[in-house]
């Protein structure tokens, strides 16, 4: 899709404005006013990106646009089911997955995408609760989930399952399949300064890493060569289809200040803990859930090092590390 930024005008901007207004990030404006992406809208977009754990640039690209759409849905707003051709995404799906996980059903990673595993977990819940087992989240299922709400809640089921998966994989590196994803590529050079480009550096680093991994008996796969630049979705699909244990996405950065330096690591998950309480309210309950401790809260933070959480909406469904 086309990127929308400050100064843009049109129906897409009108849609973004109305969504931001609905989310309470933009004061209601005259609907007759021309839809302009002004400074106020940019500020609201930045606030929204901050809430969702997206990259904060004030520009509406594919990830932010999808997150904006997702944010408008709350559980019970619409019936949910598994659609093979185009899986449903939204905050309502995320709430359903979180509830199923809290109740002990393996809905996979709570990523806001209604996939096959979500359907299976929902069917298991329906069977156990004596509902019609159709894999559809309609009014009856929502009511049943709501009835259980005060009784079963909390815990960190996703983290437990993740840790178990890592433990089951064993400590030996040999036999593990790792996807290495050097950023950018082809025409897209990434950050380039003085003839040094991110695309070339990261590809070279990826190849060095691939060689060292091969020496330990790991199977390393690269998402790209020197001349192509698959988009984010293609890279994620490649890793998912390869059944990778891990994907490492390698990037360099640039900044308007020459003093900025150092390394940052992002990993998948726990963006829901950063969401404001209002967005996390369960339908029918009067109080918001207390924000959980952030998984990255214990990570060492120094001037030159950091570990941050990514947003499930913006990340592919495999563990993703960017360094």
């Amino acid at each position: 899709m086309q990127l929308l930024r400050r100064g843009d005008v049109g129906t897409d901007v009108a849609e973004i404005r109305s969504t931001l207004t609905r989310l309470g990030l933009l004061p209601p404006t005259d609907p007759q006013a021309p839809p302009v992406f002004d400074q106020q809208v940019e500020h609201a977009v930045r606030a929204f990106q901050q809430q969702r754990g997206l990259i904060i640039d004030g520009i509406v690209g594919p990830a932010t646009y999808r997150a904006l759409r997702d944010a408008t849905f709350s559980l019970g707003d619409r019936p949910l089911a598994f659609l093979m051709s185009q899986p449903t995404t939204g905050d309502d799906v995320l709430m359903l997955q979180e509830r199923l996980l809290e109740l002990g059903y393996d809905a996979g990673r709570a990523n806001g995408v209604f996939g096959q595993q979500t359907e299976q977990a929902l069917k298991n819940f329906q069977r156990d609760y004596g509902l019609i087992v159709d894999g559809m989240c309609g009014p009856d299922t929502v009511r049943a989930l709501r009835q259980l709400q005060p009784k079963v809640r909390g815990g960190r089921p996703v983290l437990l399952r993740e840790q178990e998966r890592v433990r089951n994989a064993g400590s030996r590196l040999s036999g593990k399949r790792i996807v290495i994803d050097p950023g950018h590529g082809g025409q897209d050079r990434g950050v380039a300064v003085d003839g040094v480009s991110e695309a070339d550096l990261m590809l070279d680093l990826a190849r060095r890493l691939e060689g060292k991994m091969a020496a330990t008996g790991m199977e390393a796969l690269l998402t790209r060569g020197p001349n192509n630049c698959p988009d984010e979705a293609e890279r994620a699909r490649f890793a998912n289809e390869a059944g990778a244990d891990l994907i490492l996405s390698l990037h360099s950065d640039g900044n308007s200040s020459a003093h900025a330096q150092g390394v940052a690591t992002f990993h998948y998950g726990t963006a829901t803990a950063r969401r404001p309480p209002s967005a996390r309210r369960w339908p029918g309950s009067s109080s918001a859930r207390s924000p959980r401790a952030r998984r990255c809260g214990t990570a060492a933070r120094t001037r030159r090092r950091g570990i941050c959480c990514g947003s499930p909406a913006a990340r592919p469904s495999v563990s993703r590390w960017a360094t």
Partner: protein, 59 residues
Amino acid sequence: MGYLTNSEDRARLATPGFRDIVAEGILVAVKRLYLLGKDDQPTGTFTFNDLLRYEMAKG
């Protein structure tokens, strides 16, 4: 990793030997992820050779 707009970072990353060190660092980090805190060593002391020895011993 690194800011290409920073001259120190840029010079480091442009050095092939440094990229080798980074690659080893990433590999050790992956290994330590799977160690789950068992047989682990303090950050900065686990080397590529340690890792290879460990893999051979457990193989």
